[in-house]
Amino acid sequence: MTESPPVNGLPIRTLAEVVENRAEGGGGFCLTLSVPGWPGALPGQFVMISAGACAAVERWDPLLPRPMAVYRGHRPAEAGGTTEVQILFKATGAGTRLLAETAPGQRVRMVGPLGVGFPPPGPDQRVCLVGGGTGTASLYEWALQCARTQPVSVLLGARRAQELVGLADFEALGVDLRCATEDGSRGTLGRVTALLEPLLAEAEPGELSLYVCGPTPMMRACSQMAVRSGVRCIVSLENNMACGFGVCLGCAVPMTEGGFSLVCRAGPIYDARDVDWAGLP
């Protein structure tokens, strides 16, 4: 279906220069990086990023890089050139607060692209993307691609209007966009699941493909609703990670069929039925 960018698939490790770090309100930041030799990324892929390298002396605290979706910048760099890659994040803990403090000209450590991309919907399917909090960052490029070929609905949820990550960009897509906030400051009062309910109720069997990214409780709720309605539901999991490329085994999620899957390598994209939601922390 969608035209996918020519991605060579192999991740790189680089020091990327900060071009811009823009406060978005609600604690959100949009970080633009200039990445030399960027191989491109599929929608749904992520990078491991840490700001520890930007200090004059490399610092080891916080130690681990943080997984972040590639928000924009899926096309590869020209030979010998750079690409601008954007990350959308919320400053919450030590790692993201350090990232929030980076200024243009400073450098951050980056490894990526990592993980797999979203599987395409069926040719005649409608697409519904459900994003909660910073989870919307993983969905933007996918919404853009899907909107070229089929009808797309985007449902975004957050605590309050300022925390609707990337809202202006989604509005510019011109797709069916609905919001829910827990304080009612934008769109429907309540959770994003309240927006999903009627959409699922209307859907004919096999007519809809659902893609969800957000906090675990929200993904769990959406996937249960989708399974009940017989709708295919794809989730993008947001686990804690140490390496991001399959060597620490720290990101394992339990699978319905038994055993574990590494979110950084087999994921972060899964069919919701394959994930043993009860075993997720």
Binding site: R13, S50, W60, P62, P65, N240, A242, V247, L249, C251
Partner: protein, 311 residues
């Protein structure tokens, strides 16, 4: 001093291009680092600890962050010895030195596994993990009791003619006796340290962060402890020592060499910078050049001591 510096060292009878190895459990089965690092730039790597049968690890959360470090309770999740020998080894480029790590629940397990691995021409040596800090049986029991450890090493030695390395646990009051029994039982080298037993708590939920409650601490936070133990062990035995624990830079690595290590392993830092081991190898060479050493091997034990230590 100008002139070229000889970087090659020999550890436990294994000739290495340079003293930089990577630590078990932090380097997968080698091929994962293909996009980032030419494995022929480093001395070699130690693979994830293997068991006779494939094995799943602990439920999540398996990792937590701590000041300049991390806790892990992966347990010995691995693909099993057969898949390692049949799938992983052949995929590695020629000229990469592979040390295989073994884990078992009793000495017979260890011995059978070590023998199978050691018989492979692509395996340069075996490292027995007698120190995993968070598996219910096996591992650390051996690493904490000198009699059990001696019996374990002796049993494995009977089945392994190639280089045999024992990886020790830091979770002991005195490391020297543990190193001594390894030497007595015929080990060719010692690796230390494994992760330090630890725990972390989430005060909001009033629960341990790790599903397994206990985990192993690694990363720069543990480096001075590892350095102390390497130094103590190197004074207690004549067999060579491989130093591991919190190494993040060439300077860190050099500290271990000065304290008596013949080789070093890069662990947790591989997650932060998958090119770290190569950069550390280059940095050790630069250090030797800067300080007028013609051989990197001469750094081993070159610590200047003005007075005898208190303990």
């Amino acid at each position: 001093m100008s002139g070229p510096v000889e970087t090659a060292v020999e550890f436990a009878g294994i000739p290495l291009r340079n003293p930089v190895l990577t630590a078990s459990g932090t380097f997968g089965y080698g091929s994962e680092f293909g996009p980032f690092l030419d494995l022929r730039r480093i001395g070699g790597f130690v693979g994830k600890s293997l068991t006779l049968e494939p094995r799943f690890g602990n439920p999540p959360p398996r990792i937590a962050e701590s000041p300049a470090g991390m806790l892990n309770a992966i347990s010995i999740e691995n693909i099993g010895v057969d898949a390692f020998l049949e799938e992983k080894l052949p995929a590695l480029p020629e000229g990469v030195v592979v040390i295989a790590s073994c884990f078992g629940t009793d000495p017979d397990d260890y011995a059978r596994l070590a023998a199978r691995l050691s018989d492979s021409p692509r395996v340069s040596g075996v490292e027995i993990n007698a120190s995993c800090p968070h598996v219910k049986s096996g591992g650390i029991e051996f690493g904490q009791d000198p009699e059990l450890l001696k019996d374990l090493v002796r049993r494995v030695r009977e089945h392994v003619s190639g280089p045999l390395i024992v990886k020790l646990s830091p979770n002991v009051t005195r490391i020297a006796p543990m190193a001594e029994v390894c030497q007595e039982a015929g080990a060719d080298g010692i690796t230390l340290i494994n992760a330090i037993q630890s725990m972390e708590v989430d005060v909001e939920t009033r629960r341990p962060v790790l599903a397994n409650v206990l985990g192993g601490l690694s990363g720069p936070a543990i480096r001075p402890i590892a350095l102390r133990m390497v130094w103590q062990a190197s004074r207690a035995v004549d067999i060579p020592i491989c130093g591991v624990g919190g190494i993040a830079s060439a300077e860190d690595a050099v500290k271990f060499l000065l304290c008596g290590a013949t080789a070093i392993q890069v662990g947790t830092i591989n997650y932060v910078n998958p090119m770290a081991a190569g950069e550390i190898a280059d940095g050790i060479l630069a250090y030797a050049q800067r300080h007028g050493f013609s051989r990197v091997a001469d750094l081993t034990g070159a610590l200047e001591l003005d007075r005898a230590p208190v303990s």
